[in-house]
Assembly symmetry: C2
Homo-oligomer: 319 residues x 2
Amino acid sequence: MAVYTDVSFEDLESFLESYDLGEPRVFKGIAEGVSNSNYFLQTETGAYILTLYEMRVEAADLPFYLALMEHLACSEIQCPTPVHARNGEVTGLLNGRPAAILTFLDGVSLRRPTAEHCQAAGRALAALHEAGASFKGRRANALGPQGWRTLADDCAQKADTVGDGMRALIEEELASLTAAWPATLPQGIIHADLFPDNVLFVNDRLSGIIDFYFACNDALAYDLAVMLNAWCFETDGAFNLTKGRALFAGYQTMRKLNLAERAAFPLLCRGAALRFLLTRLYDWINHNPIALVRPKDPREFARRLRFHKGVKQPEAYGL
Amino acid sequence: MAVYTDVSFEDLESFLESYDLGEPRVFKGIAEGVSNSNYFLQTETGAYILTLYEMRVEAADLPFYLALMEHLACSEIQCPTPVHARNGEVTGLLNGRPAAILTFLDGVSLRRPTAEHCQAAGRALAALHEAGASFKGRRANALGPQGWRTLADDCAQKADTVGDGMRALIEEELASLTAAWPATLPQGIIHADLFPDNVLFVNDRLSGIIDFYFACNDALAYDLAVMLNAWCFETDGAFNLTKGRALFAGYQTMRKLNLAERAAFPLLCRGAALRFLLTRLYDWINHNPIALVRPKDPREFARRLRFHKGVKQPEAYGL
């Protein structure tokens, strides 16, 4: 949670000269976003987010993310949409960083979503998958099995200092998941990071989906497996079957999973747990103490991964 | 710039049960405030700031600050005003911290204010002094000459590692300022920290004054000396006489300085420069590298202090 690149009001004013957004009324750095610097901006014409893309978001991928958000917003998905500058561009350079202005969505993210929220979020994911089908852009999932291998190698030496048996757990899982990873499930645009932080609600009504900076092409059901990991476990580590059922029910009102997707679901859940275990472990081990972000505990996902290893049938998730 | 205490939406929801503010629509931690955690909150009824008071703001002083803001807002000073809970209280406990909800003011703070902005800000300071005259609360200035002595002692050992001759400069100034510090100038409520960060503008019109957590009773002209230090120097260290003139002109449209205040002005400027030199030096020396706040450079105020030492007459400032 940080603002990495400082933007003065005067910097903002020059940047806004290329846009038709009117006079700024509010401009505040917000303590949100692990990889980017984000500012809340209100002008005569509305509310926006100004994002400066720091190193972790590869500049080459920016056009993909921004075009995707624009495509989804045009397809009535409630998500931020980039504002075009007068010259038509959706990015500019601000204090040495690529920067974009996106529309701001009202809503708050929940720390402890209920089953009803899970259902609404599941439905929104299916709507996103449907709307993504007509999107032309493509981006490979950098955090699929190949990416896991690289992260696992980088973390191998120190993994056991973070949790007992961590290294062995990762190696075993990597070996069996890589061997069995399904290649023929229905593919499409996935959000790939739809945690409760990235879903907004107003008055318990879903009002938006944000943070598309991991979006890519991959198996649609994998996206739902990410959500199951992120939405359906209690803070004590217990799996909440009611929330699982609600998530699937919401999703399947819009898009039915086929038999292959159902059968692969336990495996996809293990893969999703491993993916977040590995990125958190990497950030934990390589955490710079003077950084402005506190790393998240990787062990949470080691527990979830162990839970999934014990699951034999999709029914155990409520599917 | 940080959020020290994490507040989930659910924490907020329970806290809001004591208020009549309606349903929350936006809730974001903002990267602002060195001592407190601040959240931007928008509900059905308007925009607010939720502040959690961390250690640096003494809980015993909170009623003074909040009552002062309420008094000033009632006297048509544009400043945040605390929202009363249903039981009449203006503070509550949130995640172990005293917390208050204040009205949010539109406006942006300027990094490089012009002479016109200085004039508007000077006028607003005089209006604040006038409105403060009828306020009954009292709080001594903890960062007056006695406070400087304590800070200087704490920093003495390491002062010269920050800047050449820093320790000697501080000791000499402390000795001469303490001996000559005026005790009979007109007193009242002062803001004591009216830097450009704390003054908001919309479309070049002053829209608000914020951050009253150093406010206290002291010499009114000292408050203007703080502003001269904060508003009238260029980034290269040069004093901008045009801005000085504008600041005084703005102030004196509402409140004329008397002869004693004019005569004391160079001394007050030295005191104000020393006060910010010392607090910055203390924060610089005692900076915890894992803290979320980057300390400000104390040497800026050493340069200003040396400039003031060379000033013999208030005319040199444009007064």
